[in-house]
Symmetry: C2
Subunit: 698 residues, 2 copies
């Protein structure tokens, strides 16, 4: 995929310049200086030669095939160049030029036009407003970045060109190896998903790294990320999560930043490993690029000092990793050569006077225990230890393995060289033990993701058909919400049990209804204008007698008329009192980038005060429903605490799946809540007490 | 303080060696090589000269006064050397020698003996089992670490010698300045508190840094840390959180506490800034060592790139800092010289083509806005920007200020040199924007701590006197818990309102009692052997009639006899039904290092399932009580949600203070719960429904 971007046989630089310091010069220079073997054509209307390459006045005057055009002309000329690309059958372009969507309204219009013209011309492009692209294996540096990373397994794409520069500058002295650098710019044509797919198929790329501020099509992103993350780890730093961050995001590249909950759910559901800082992005990347993924949580720590060992153990405790003691056989083996005051358990403390030989032998012994899935080696630069020899020892032992070995040789002065040696030989070294543990943990979590069973999707027949009329009606009437009877019908269509209920228009009807349903009953005002019925006194519960009903009917209707005189009162709903159970809430909300999200939480306080909810993007798989219930902190309440019976968790899962299907069936649902949904004891199902639906146009 | 350690006029190295590589050699070499101006006496029974210094066979043979002895002889000789120190009136020693408490039982005994003998000899000492001490201003390196840090304002003490080595090794190439390095070793004599006090008084030390695994006397630690942190920032990395383990506890408070909770509370109450990783320890230290503390939360970010700006803004949003827009006047000023597509708000994006002049002018303009308390400068190494010149510009503007300026010049290759220049001129630079924000935030939180009003302690007269008899009685009978009647008396002594109650020994007595109290009532078994009454069916509520009472009496007593046939049944408590209110729980637990902790949480699920509790170490100040209630996530429930009335929060605070005084009055309380404490509406107080007390020997 995208071969003309990453394996072009020839490149034209449109807007190549003779003046050093100009982007059109620097890019041409970068292309020519790092060993690119194909033909390079500077395009410049005034020069006949630039940097030793024959220059041409226009693309049309180049007497050779061109695979890739790098465009650095001013914004107003870009469209014409794209047209020329089309004429020359150049189907790949990188548009470096800025001054498009990121610069305001006029730029935004220009960018729209650019997309249209490129489509007409049959040109796919990266950018505009980007830094360019680098491919270390094809030895192309078509960017104006200073420097070329060494060859390696990390493929990096970034919405921010600045971050490309910073990452590259950080990588160069430590010789951290990259396969590709792709500065995405405004992502007007090729997007994150195109690049992820290309990187997935690129044999030189072992791990995919991304910096993302927002995505245009959340669904596509998830679909592609799910596919790609099955093949290779995808690690993404997502910014703009907060209100102030989001503000900066929209004034930066004009990207709409997705809401945090949507991205979090999307990453979880598609196996994307989320990095929370730039530092983490790096730390995770070098682990994945160089070491195999651990096949289980059991880790061992070898250290020559107590304090850092404890810090590493603390970090493990906060992670999914487990420090298990070695099998007795290997503890005995350790005892045979370590000093008696060493610690033979885990962390294994081989003491401050340990030399490289002791490290090597300990590492060998630990690895004999097949239950140990990964090893972390900690080193403090004591006077005794030969840091370089220890690095060599680790390299010797570790590289013969299919189990990951990570190191944290701490300090800087005494260890910097060895850290580089370690990395060069495939052992990622970390400045601090906490970073090492976090990186190994990310790998382990990826292992777990990779071995999840395939997602199972459940569909419910006929529901859509049964509810269609209701939504059609509401839409025809241009309403933005469903009335109570419609809500009732929709819930019934999707098989949600509801309390028995009847509508009463008079006090007498109410009494009759209550008698029909059986005491005690609940009464609720029915009015399309009233969303939160109980807030205005429109709900009465536990009504036991004829007199109760009559008084309640009078109270409710009077109260509503006083508070909301303009509200249309359809009547009063007489409803059976529902048996006690746990209250949960589930809902639908929509995100501009990802579409419908499904929410789950325990009702009342848990949702409103503690905000203890979980989200997934619809449609939910059965596993999604299973996990999102268990993700809430209050979940143990459903399992039953203090001898309470377990609630019908399976029925909640089922309900979530039905709600998810509802969201899929009716894309014009803007928001919905089923609140409360009463969950009865296991085996006894759930009952939807109340719900509301906001709908929009198609 | 400790002048003979840090300003000795002469030093003896007992156990000095001629053999390079030996600790006794390396230390002597370190002492002599870094400019120490005092006299140095190697003590070695066999050599006449070591490293050009005249050697003496023993301390007694040195014909000069000795201020400080560095002891590196084998463990079995250390005690004799200490005796000789006493004879020579040497009152300060650093014991490097290992083989004491850390090596097992025998070493532990030797260490006890060492402490005794040193006390007799009038010698204070650091160690044993340590790396030594460094004072850059006195130019003493009495350690066997490789290298001497440059002079600076960071005073570091560490329980782990290895961490000293790692920190020093990390600091050397970046020329991070330190005042003192103190490897504490086993802390057998001088402890963290002694060193904190010494560092507090040391004019060269601007910030105190510590690595702590545990403290011997938690109370003293808090007392000293509270004092010192008023004067200078104290930043501590505490490890060993996993060693606390799950301790067997028979109360909620006990189960929810642990050493981690105690340390967390202690740090909060004494103004210690907690670092969570070694990296944070460094990051915070360089900020505090070089820049003034911000006097408010308002921060500005200047950046030459959008992406990193967003990441910094995201980090601010998770912190206590606020990015406020500049005053219009200064926005207009920015507009006058920045390109129109720049972002004038906050983060202020001066664009990728910014040079050092644009940075300087922007920084100057931002600082004109007096509401801005701190500035963070972000730089991505673009082709245009002159990194070194920008560093100089920041140095010029920032150093004339009493407001902090921090930088994150990102990358490595292009910025490493300038980062060093910045630091040399007092501007801490961070590899990543997130680290910069976290460090500034730590400074701001310290500012807040420093400006808290003085703690107010409230005492309650007479409570102790009234409860004394109960505790004395229980202790006399060697019981480990108070019985229900005693609990009642203790609560009454401390002014906790309780439901009306009477004890019934027969069914008839129960009926009579209920009639006296008034229906409805609650009934509870009274037995010293039964802790969780309701778990075994020993509680009945809402009993309305004579018949109810009779049946409940029979049920409860039969049930208890069946389940716990050996339990002694004192009787059944008949209690008034308490008006509805919010249930909270408060308790006392004890920590081996810090003594009594007070816990607070909302009752039931919030405590048991969500573990939403807060801790403080007793005695509580009124502010502690105020804060710990508000620290729980469920706090809004007390304020009242959805139109509910506010609960009597003041009465909760009052109760916490009384509970705290109870803990102080009766040190033999091991654990206590008041659960539930019913909180009525504001102004109506609280009622203690149930409580239990575990007590121990004096």
């Amino acid at each position: 995929m995208l071969d003309h971007f990453f394996r072009p046989r020839s490149i034209a630089v449109v807007g190549a310049s003779r003046s050093p310091g100009k982007v059109g010069h620097d890019i041409l220079k970068n292309i020519t200086r790092y060993g690119y073997a194909g033909a390079v054509f500077p395009i410049n209307s005034e020069a006949s030669e630039i940097l030793g390459k024959k220059a041409y006045p226009s693309l049309s005057s180049v007497p050779h095939d061109i695979d890739l055009a790098i465009i650095v002309v001013p914004p107003k000329h870009v469209l014409a160049v794209i047209d020329q690309c089309g004429e020359r059958k150049i189907d790949a372009a990188v548009i470096i030029t800025a001054g498009f969507k990121e610069s305001g309204l006029e730029g935004s219009r220009l960018e729209q036009e650019l997309v249209k013209r490129a489509k007409q011309a049959g040109v796919r492009f990266i950018g505009p407003n980007c830094l360019g692209i680098i491919d270390t294996h094809a030895m192309i540096n078509a960017s104006f970045a200073a420097g070329m990373p060494v060859q390696g397994g990390i493929g990096f794409f970034s919405q921010s060109g600045a971050l490309c520069l910073a990452v590259l500058d950080r990588a160069l002295p430590d010789e951290i190896g990259f396969s590709k650098f792709i500065s995405m710019g405004n992502k007007a044509d090729l997007t994150d998903t195109d690049i992820m797919l290309a990187l997935a198929e690129d044999d030189n790329t072992k791990v995919i790294l991304g910096y993302v501020e927002g995505v245009a099509d959340g669904r596509k992103f998830m679909e592609v990320a799910s596919l790609v993350s099955q093949k290779k780890p995808v690690i993404i730093l997502k910014s703009g999560i907060t209100t102030s961050g989001a503000k900066a995001a929209s004034s930066h590249t004009g990207a709409l930043s997705g809401r945090e909950a949507a991205f979090d759910a999307a990453f979880k559901q598609s196996g994307v490993i989320r990095a929370h800082t730039i530092n983490e992005l790096f730390n995770f990347a070098i682990a994945f690029a160089h070491q195999p993924v651990p096949r289980g949580p059991n880790a061992a720590i070898i250290t020559n000092s107590g304090g850092p060992g404890i810090l590493a153990a603390d970090a493990c405790d906060k992670s999914n990793l487990q420090l298990i003691p070695l099998h007795k056989e290997y503890v005995d083996e350790l005892r045979s050569f370590l000093p008696p005051v060493a610690s033979f358990y885990n962390p294994i403390d081989i003491l401050g006077d340990a030399g490289s030989d002791r490290y090597e032998r300990t590492l060998q012994t630990v690895l004999k225990d097949e239950r140990i899935n990964s090893v972390m080696v900690l080193l403090t630069p004591t006077a005794v230890v030969d840091v370089a020899a220890t690095a060599q020892a680790v390299i010797r032992v570790a590289n013969a393995l299919d189990r990951p070995v990570l190191t944290s040789f701490m300090g800087k002065k005494s260890v910097e060289g060895s850290a580089k040696t370690l990395l060069k030989h495939g052992i990622p070294n970390y400045d601090y033990p906490e970073e090492m543990v976090a990186s190994l943990n990310a790998m382990y979590r990826y292992h777990v993701w990779r071995h999840k069973p395939a997602k199972r999707m459940q569909t419910f027949e006929d529901c859509r058909r049964k509810a269609e009329r209701v939504f059609a009606e509401a839409q025809k009437e241009n309403r933005d919400r469903l009335n109570d009877l419609e809500v009732h019908d929709v819930l019934r269509a999707y098989g949600f049990a509801q309390p028995k209920s009847l509508v009463a228009r008079t006090s007498d009807e109410a009494v009759a209804a209550a008698k029909g349903i059986g005491f005690p009953v609940v009464m609720k005002i029915i009015s399309p204008q009233i969303m939160h019925k109980s807030d205005i006194g429109g709900v009465r519960v536990n009504l036991n007698t004829k007199k109760d009903i009559e008084r309640a009917f009078f109270d409710i209707t009077t109260r509503v008329r006083n508070i909301m005189p303009t509200a249309h009162i359809v009547g009063v709903l007489i409803q059976e009192m529902v048996p006690r159970g746990k209250e949960v809430i589930m809902g639908i909300t929509s995100d501009p980038q990802f579409g419908h999200l499904i929410m789950f939480g325990l009702g009342g306080v848990y949702v409103e005060v503690l905000k203890d909810v979980s989200f997934r993007i619809a449609p939910l798989s059965t596993e999604d429903a299973h996990e999102m219930i268990r993700e809430t902190k209050a979940f143990p309440l459903l399992r039953g605490v203090r001898g309470e019976p377990e609630a019908d968790i399976e029925a909640i899962e089922h309900s979530l799946l039905k709600l998810s299907q509802m969201a899929t069936d009716f894309p014009n649902i803007v928001e919905a809540d089923i609140n409360p949904l009463i969950v009865r004891d296991r085996g006894h199902g759930v009952i939807a007490i109340d719900a509301r639906f906001l709908i929009g146009g198609e």
